[in-house]
C-alpha cells in the first residue's frame, strides 16, 4: 500500500511550505499513516546528514578579488579617507592635550563632579557672603570675591577649597534652579581677558581673567546661564 501524499504534500509539509490549515490537516493525516511518518523521518535524516556534510562552497578569495576590482578605487579611497581621519583625529587628540585650556577645563569639570559626591560640595555651608568670605581668610594667600546673587537667581550655597594646577584655590558654589554651579578662583598675574567657553562631558565651562585672578565656572546648567553669572561676577 502506497500513500499518494508521500511524493508531494509530505515535502511541502517538511519544507514549511503549507499554510497553517494545510499543515494541520497533514498532521492529522500523519496520525494514521505510518508510511508518511517513516518518509518524514527519512527526510529529516537526509537533511541532517546534508547539513553535517557542510557541502556549501563559499566563493574563493580569487573570485572575490576578480568581482570587486570595480570597487577597488572606492575601497582604496575609503581606506585612504579612514587613514586620514585617524591621523586627523590623532592630531586633534594630541593637540587638544597640548591645549592648556582644555586640560584646565578637564581638571575643573572633574573637580566639579567630585564636589557633587555626598559631603563634598561645600566645606563651609552658608548663603551668607559674610560667613563664607572670612572662612577663606587664612586658608588662601589671596582674597576671592564672595558675593551672593540670590536676587539674580544665583543663590550662594557655600564655599570650599580646591587645588587647581597644584595650588590652593577657592571654589564657590551657587545654585541655579535645580543645577549647581562651581566657580573656581585662583590668583593669576595677567591682564584681564574676555570670557571663553566650552563644553566637556555635557558640562559647560566659562573662563575669564579679571582683577589679577582667573575665574572658571563649571555646571550642567546652560551656557547662557553661566554667561549671566559671569557678567554678575565680573561686575
Amino acid at each position: 500500500m502506497s500513500c499518494n501524499r508521500t511524493e508531494t504534500l509530505l515535502h511541502a509539509y517538511f519544507d514549511n511550505e503549507l499554510d497553517p490549515g494545510g499543515a494541520a490537516e497533514f498532521e492529522r493525516h500523519l496520525e494514521q499513516c505510518p508510511e508518511c511518518v517513516d518518509a518524514l523521518d527519512a527526510l529529516h535524516r537526509l537533511r541532517s546528514s546534508i547539513g553535517a556534510a557542510q557541502l556549501y562552497q563559499k566563493a574563493p578569495g580569487s573570485l572575490r578579488r576578480k568581482v570587486l576590482p570595480a570597487r577597488t578605487p572606492w575601497r582604496w579611497l575609503a581606506a585612504a579617507a579612514a587613514l586620514l581621519l585617524c591621523v586627523y583625529t590623532g592630531w586633534q587628540i594630541a593637540s587638544s592635550h597640548r591645549d592648556d585650556q582644555t586640560v584646565l577645563a578637564e581638571e575643573l569639570v572633574d573637580a566639579h563632579l567630585r564636589s557633587l559626591q555626598p559631603g563634598h560640595l561645600t566645606d563651609v555651608v552658608s548663603s551668607d557672603q559674610h560667613t563664607v568670605k572670612p572662612w577663606f581668610a587664612g586658608k588662601l594667600d589671596f582674597s576671592p570675591p564672595v558675593r551672593d546673587f540670590a536676587a539674580d537667581g544665583f543663590p550662594l550655597q557655600g564655599g570650599r577649597l580646591e587645588v587647581v594646577r597644584g595650588r590652593a584655590s577657592a571654589a564657590l558654589v551657587y545654585g541655579r534652579r535645580k543645577h549647581l554651579v562651581s566657580v573656581f578662583i585662583w590668583p593669576m598675574a595677567a591682564k584681564d581677558t574676555d570670557p571663553r567657553s566650552g563644553s566637556l562631558q555635557g558640562y559647560q565651562w566659562v573662563e575669564w581673567r579679571h582683577a589679577g585672578m582667573e575665574f572658571c565656572t563649571v555646571s550642567d546648567a546652560s551656557r547662557s546661564e553661566l554667561e549671566t553669572l559671569q557678567a554678575l561676577l565680573a561686575k
Binding site: E7, T8, L10, H11, A12, D15, E17, A42, L43, L46, R47, S49, I50, G51, A52, A53, Q54, L55, Y56, Q57, K58, A59, P60, S62, L63, R64, K66, V67, L68, A70, R71
Partner: protein
C-alpha cells in the same frame, strides 16, 4: 551606471557572491569553471542591473548564475557530447561510494551524481535555504513542479546513499 546605482548593486547583489559560487560549483562540478561562471554571471548582473526592480536580489542573481551555467553545460555538451572523463560518472558506483567513506565525501559524490535539474533544487533548498517560490523564480519552473522535482531528487539521493549502506 551612476555611483548611486553602483552603490545599490554593491549593497544588494555583491553580498550574494557566495550563493552564486555555490550554485555554479554544484551545477558545473568544477571549482575553476564555477569561478569563471560566477564571475561572468556577476558581470551580466551588473550590466542588467537596471532591469532589477527590487524584490529578491538573491533569486534574481541566482537565476542569472543558473542560465550562465546551463549555457556553459550546453556548449560543452555540443562540443564533446558528454565527457565522462571530464565530469565524472553520472551515477556513483558502489565501489566509489565505499571508498568515499566519510559522510561529507559520500554526500558530495551522491549529490554530484544527480542530474542537474535534481541537483539544483537540492542545492537551492538544502544548502541555500530557498523557498519554493524562490526556487521557482530561479529555475523558471512552476511551484508545483518545484515540489515534485524536489520529491524525486530527494528519493534519488536517498537511494544512492542507501546503495552504499547496503554494500
Amino acid at each position: 551606471m551612476d555611483p548611486q546605482e553602483k552603490a545599490r548593486f554593491e549593497r544588494l547583489v555583491i553580498p550574494h557572491l557566495d550563493a552564486a559560487f555555490n550554485l555554479a560549483r554544484w551545477l558545473l562540478r568544477s571549482g575553476v569553471d564555477a569561478e569563471d561562471a560566477a564571475q561572468e554571471a556577476m558581470l551580466r548582473a551588473y550590466r542588467f542591473f537596471s532591469g532589477f526592480h527590487g524584490g529578491d536580489a538573491r533569486a534574481w542573481l541566482l537565476q542569472i548564475v543558473r542560465n550562465t551555467c546551463y549555457g556553459r553545460l550546453d556548449r560543452v555538451k555540443n562540443m564533446t557530447e558528454f565527457d565522462e572523463e571530464l565530469h565524472g560518472p553520472s551515477s556513483p558506483t558502489p565501489e566509489a561510494l565505499a571508498i568515499a567513506g566519510d559522510n561529507r565525501e559520500r554526500l558530495a559524490l551522491a549529490l554530484r551524481s544527480l542530474p542537474p535539474r535534481y541537483r539544483e533544487v537540492i542545492v537551492l533548498r538544502e544548502l541555500e535555504g530557498c523557498s519554493y517560490k524562490e526556487i521557482a523564480t530561479i529555475t523558471s519552473i512552476p511551484i508545483g513542479t518545484v515540489m515534485s522535482t524536489l520529491s524525486r531528487a530527494r528519493a534519488q539521493l536517498q537511494m544512492s546513499l542507501s546503495e552504499k549502506a547496503s554494500t
